[in-house]
């Protein structure tokens, strides 16, 4: 398989001449403990072929039986995505000849998906521009089973192309898989890459809040195929689409759309045509290369699965599941924003920093929203950036941040001391109260102790003291600095200032 490096058109230039149309197909492995049609366990990372049985190996005489929890999860996903739930639908056989399914077919849904016609509102955060809202229409949500995993042997790159043979592990074959397909998303222009990323992010958060999947892109429990096509600007006549697979991180979703826009623009500019094909995304280079052509692969000869009876969710069951849905991320976001009184930009900053949950937990633990936000986006984000880790990986809990914030609010700590306390907590020296006790870190607001330091500072700086006596109260800062030095930063600065002015007759 040889493909010369594709020619690209610069992104801005491509967008100036073409409108992008994107569509996303997302596969989610459900978090059920057993498989879709048999009782085999579903744990990730087990030894090869230790989680298989006659049903998922497709042995003769075995029959599938539907996992009730998988249907329930899929209906809940459909409801959360504002879909209609089918009153009656069937599974279908998708026939094909890859050995990743031992049956030579995959049980899926074809023309009768369980959920149809929904939508998901997402907030797009383009770099260097204000966030904008986008409603992504959902075409369908359907059930299927995951396939086995192949290792390709021989050949240069471990890829299927050029391999001499393959080794298959069927542990994953038969794990319940939900496919969520968007309608084509038009009109996003230069925001198309960011919009694709925002959709997958919002969908991931939604699925996580439903508790239906662990949505780990790096482990493949959330996988994304990105469809891209272009139309000459304003013409509305869309070219052929490509389907990019193997897009395994949120960042890659954005990069894959961007790359395909740049590549397709170059192909169209050269007067050539886009071929309907599957393309593979390469994480290392951020590029895509051609996979199998869709024309050859399309004849799946779907037909209703004769080994399974139809699914007919009763309206009562659907109503019950709808009533039991948890608060979904968009609603929670809106509620927190109104409770905290933050602007859209503030909320976007929290979201981008991955700090929304941390701030929410810190507020629940008693901190004021503004304070919680300040600590996580300021001091703590700096530490996380320095160490190159996520905020959630810092060795401090929201409850500990709330405690520090409470001590600052009550005057027990000033900001400088609070930072020292957090440093010690992050270094594993114990809880804030333990650190304060061990180091004797507390704001000194006892007047007798402060007065001694104030008098000392006045005596050491007679000229400054004279200025203040003469009415130049701004000069008090010099004496305040001296007091802070002698008290190793532990003095209550506001009180010290008052004492200085009092001592020098300015009160």
């Amino acid at each position: 398989m040889s493909e010369t490096m594709a020619e690209l058109v610069g992104f801005d230039e491509a967008i100036a001449r073409y409108d992008p149309l994107i569509g996303l197909e997302t596969h989610v492995e459900l978090g059920t403990v057993s498989k879709m049609f048999c009782g085999c366990p579903t744990g990730f990372g087990a030894e090869p072929n230790t989680q298989v049985c006659p049903v998922c190996l497709g042995l003769p005489g075995s029959l599938p039986v539907v996992n009730a929890a998988a249907i329930e999860s899929t209906i809940r996903i459909g409801l959360a995505l504002n879909c209609s739930i089918a009153g009656w639908c069937r599974f279908a056989r998708k026939n094909y000849f890859y050995p990743d399914m031992p049956k030579d077919f995959q049980i899926s849904q074809y023309d009768e998906p369980l959920c149809t016609d929904g939508w998901l509102d997402v907030t797009v955060h383009p770099e260097g521009a204000p966030p904008s809202q986008l409603r992504v229409e959902i075409e369908r949500v359907h059930m299927e089973e995951d396939t086995g995993k192949s290792l390709h042997k021989g050949g240069a790159t471990g890829r299927i192309h050029g391999a001499d043979y393959s080794l298959v592990d069927y542990n994953r074959a038969g794990i319940p898989l939900v496919e969520i397909v968007t309608k084509p998303i038009a009109g996003t222009g230069s925001l198309a890459p960011a919009a694709a990323r925002a959709y997958v992010t919002e969908l991931r958060d939604l699925l996580r809040s439903l508790g239906v999947s662990d949505v780990r892109m790096e482990e493949g429990s959330l996988r994304c195929d990105v469809n891209t096509s272009l139309a000459p600007r304003g013409s509305g006549s869309w070219g052929t689409r490509t389907e990019t697979k193997n897009v395994n991180s949120l960042r890659s979703v954005e990069r894959a759309v961007r790359y395909e826009i740049e590549r397709q623009a170059a192909v169209l500019d050269a007067g050539r045509r886009i071929v309907l094909e599957t393309r593979h995304f390469h994480e290392d280079s951020g590029t895509t290369t051609a996979g199998r052509s869709k024309e050859e692969a399309q004849d799946y000869r779907y037909f209703p699965e004769p080994d399974l009876v139809p699914i007919a969710p009763s309206p009562d069951w659907v109503a019950e599941l709808r009533a039991a849905l948890p608060e979904l991320p968009a609603a929670r976001h809106a509620r927190l924003q109104s409770e905290w009184g933050l602007s859209d930009l503030d909320m976007a900053a929290l979201g981008n920093a991955g700090a929304l949950d941390l701030v929410a937990q810190t507020v629940s633990a008693g901190a004021a929203p503004a304070e919680a936000r300040k600590w996580w986006l300021g001091e703590l984000r700096q530490r996380a950036n320095t160490e190159g880790i996520e905020l959630t990986a810092l060795a401090v809990t929201p409850a500990q941040v709330a405690r520090v914030s409470e001590l600052v609010a009550s005057g027990g700590l000033n900001d400088k001391l609070a930072r020292q306390v957090l440093d010690a907590v992050l270094a594993g020296q114990g809880s804030p109260d333990e650190v304060i006790a061990a180091r004797g870190l507390a704001v000194v607001s006892d007047d007798s102790a402060l007065l001694a330091a104030v008098d000392e500072a006045i005596a050491a700086n007679p000229k400054v003291a004279e200025k203040i006596r003469g009415g130049k109260t701004a000069a008090a800062g010099v004496l305040l600095g001296a007091v802070m030095t002698t008290t190793r930063g532990q003095a209550d600065a506001a009180r010290v200032r008052e004492l200085i002015l009092e001592r020098l007759g300015q009160h």
Partner: protein
């Protein structure tokens, strides 16, 4: 609806069956007979009767989400034609380069 020789060739390719020209002619004729026999069903007046995919009028046959002990790798691989690294070894998947 007659079935063409080309359609039989296409189905054979999808099913990875290598048929000779004589076999294609032979099966095309046979399938033609089978399909026209089955097509007689369409002569029955069936207005208002939805097509069925299952002989038993049941819906919602579910199992609870409970783990059943799997086969174990040794038993699972016992009948495999070829095994390597505790996996099923299969011939080259893509024939083209």
């Amino acid at each position: 609806m007659p079935i063409t020789r080309d359609e039989v060739a296409h189905l054979a390719r999808l099913s990875r069956l290598a048929l000779t020209d004589e076999e294609l002619d032979h099966f095309a004729a046979q399938l033609e007979v089978i399909i026209s026999a089955v097509a007689r069903v369409q002569e029955v007046t069936a207005e208002g009767i939805p097509p069925t995919s299952h002989a038993v009028p049941l819906t919602n046959v579910f199992r609870p989400d409970v783990v059943v002990p799997p086969l174990g790798a040794a038993a699972a691989l016992a009948a495999a034609p070829a095994v390597e690294e505790q996996r099923f070894r299969v011939p080259r998947i893509l024939t083209e380069g």
